[in-house]
């Protein structure tokens, strides 16, 4: 009996906790709290946080190669399958109509990607801090946080820096949730009251045919110029074609419904498996969080400045605020642009105009991911 009691005690959590796992469980619980109480991207941060708790339980080894989370990570993230299926679902959920109604605004979605590449320098510079060591691949994986797109960040990190994936995913989704806090000050700093009050003309109606041809056009260009971006862009286009073609509604409904829900649950838990103390509790993570914030801010600023250029060039036909939506973070960033616009002018509804740059930003980060994977990967 004693022997049994000893064996049982030896198998309790209390007897086996390490400081690190305790801290990680607390951090993971914080993510759960933020997801539920503060509405921080709950669809992902809740499963990620819960996965983080499970991953740090001693003995159980739920994140080990034979544990549920380990199996999910191995089969869904190492392979890239989960982020790609999420991207298909995103495509099936996205209406590119606003972008097609005024294609020129896509430039804003391009400019905002500056945040990604500028962050590379920050990451490299951190190598000067003793104890920090980021390879070029690490730097690229961290920089993609600036893409403000979850599946893209997870996909790139899983290929370039799996060890940093946990911190990168957490940073990406946290900052997407913080967009309403991060962006407005930058928006107000870089734009004048008059600019913010600019109203934009109603969008033209976009025909069904244009919507069907769009994903095919995008895929074609990506194939010709940047094949390394085609896994991401391809699945986005596939999902969108399912949605727009109108002949496979049952597949479209599934891709944007039950399938993306199932994959989201699995993806979240699997990402959580990377919140293990040894991989997360280190200087690098602090660096990643800082760099992610920088990336978001620079991306926002770049989008706004390009917005001001277009404001000038179009003689005030474009409200610079929608430039900040270019970072993607769909649809949060577009809503923020709309909100700030309303503050400046109560008749100023920017939401639909901001959706264009917003979804263009998704394409922009997928393209950026392709470049990073082609050169660094």
């Amino acid at each position: 009996m004693e022997q049994g009691l000893i064996q049982l005690w030896a198998s309790t959590g209390i007897a086996n906790f390490t400081m690190g796992s305790v801290v990680m469980i607390i951090i993971s619980s914080l993510l759960i709290y933020l997801a539920i109480a503060k509405g921080f991207e709950p669809l992902l941060l809740l499963p990620i946080g819960f996965g983080g708790v499970l991953a740090n339980i001693p003995i159980a080894e739920i994140a080990g190669p034979e544990g549920l989370l380990g199996i999910l990570y191995h089969s869904g993230i190492e392979t890239g399958v989960f982020p790609l299926l999420i991207f298909m679902g995103v495509g099936a959920m996205t209406d590119f109509g606003p972008l097609l109604a005024r294609p020129s605004l896509m430039i804003l979605g391009a400019a905002a990607q500056f945040g990604i590449f500028a962050t590379l320098f920050g990451a490299v510079a951190m190598n000067m801090i003793p104890g920090m060591e980021f390879s070029m691949a690490d730097a690229a994986a961290i920089a993609i946080i600036g893409g403000a797109d979850g599946p893209t960040a997870i996909y790139v990190a899983s290929r370039l820096a799996p060890d940093l994936l946990g911190a990168i995913a957490v940073a990406a989704y946290s900052y997407m949730a913080l967009v309403p806090i991060i962006q407005p000050p930058i928006m107000k700093l870089l734009t004048t009251e008059k600019e913010r009050g600019t109203k934009m003309s109603v969008l033209r109606h976009v025909s069904k045919l244009e919507k069907i041809l769009f994903p095919l056009t995008l895929l074609l260009i990506t194939i010709l110029l940047l094949p390394s971006a085609t896994p991401l862009v391809g699945m986005l286009c596939f999902g969108n074609l399912l949605k727009e073609c109108g002949v496979v509604d049952r597949l479209s409904k599934t891709a944007q419904g039950e399938l993306i829900n199932i994959v989201t649950i699995f993806l979240g838990l699997a990402v959580g498996s990377k919140l293990a103390a040894d991989k997360f509790l280190n200087l690098e993570t602090i660096g990643i969080l800082l760099l992610g914030m920088v990336a978001f801010s620079i991306g926002t600023a770049a989008g706004l400045l390009m917005g001001k250029v277009m404001y000038r060039m179009t003689g005030g036909a474009v409200n610079p605020l929608i430039g900040s939506a270019g970072v993607s973070a769909v649809p949060m960033a577009a809503r923020v642009a709309n909100k700030v616009g309303l503050e400046a002018n109560p008749q100023n509804f920017l939401l639909m105009h901001a959706m264009g740059p917003n979804v263009a930003g998704v394409i922009g980060s997928a393209v950026s991911a392709g470049v990073l994977l082609a050169i660094v990967g």
Binding site: F117, M136, L160, H205, E210, L351, M352, I363, V371, V376
Partner: protein, 90 residues
């Protein structure tokens, strides 16, 4: 991945050079691809015949509100209602 290993034993200057290169190539690619996209879909939008079709929900309401509305009005209404609709869903 070989190239990746290559970077591992780079000194910091090389890393900065590499970053600069990525900045150029990256932003270059993004702009080239999106500008190309702008060009092509703008052309397409010109070639594609103006669609009479307005999404049913919108049309129904449109006709309800303004049975004699001109194509243009209908389109405006459609666009606005689409916007409202989107807004609600988001």
């Amino acid at each position: 991945m070989n190239s990746l290993n290559g970077f591992k034993n780079m000194n910091i200057d090389q890393l900065f050079a590499q970053s600069l290169q990525l900045l150029g190539l990256g932003m270059g690619s993004v702009f080239v691809i999106l500008i190309l996209l702008i060009g092509i879909i703008s052309t397409i939008s010109k070639l594609v015949p103006e669609e009479k079709f307005v999404d049913p929900s919108a049309k129904s309401r449109a006709t309800a509100t303004a049975p004699t509305s001109s194509a243009v009005n209908t389109q405006h209404i459609a666009a606005i209602q689409a916007a409202i609709h989107k807004f609600r869903n988001k």
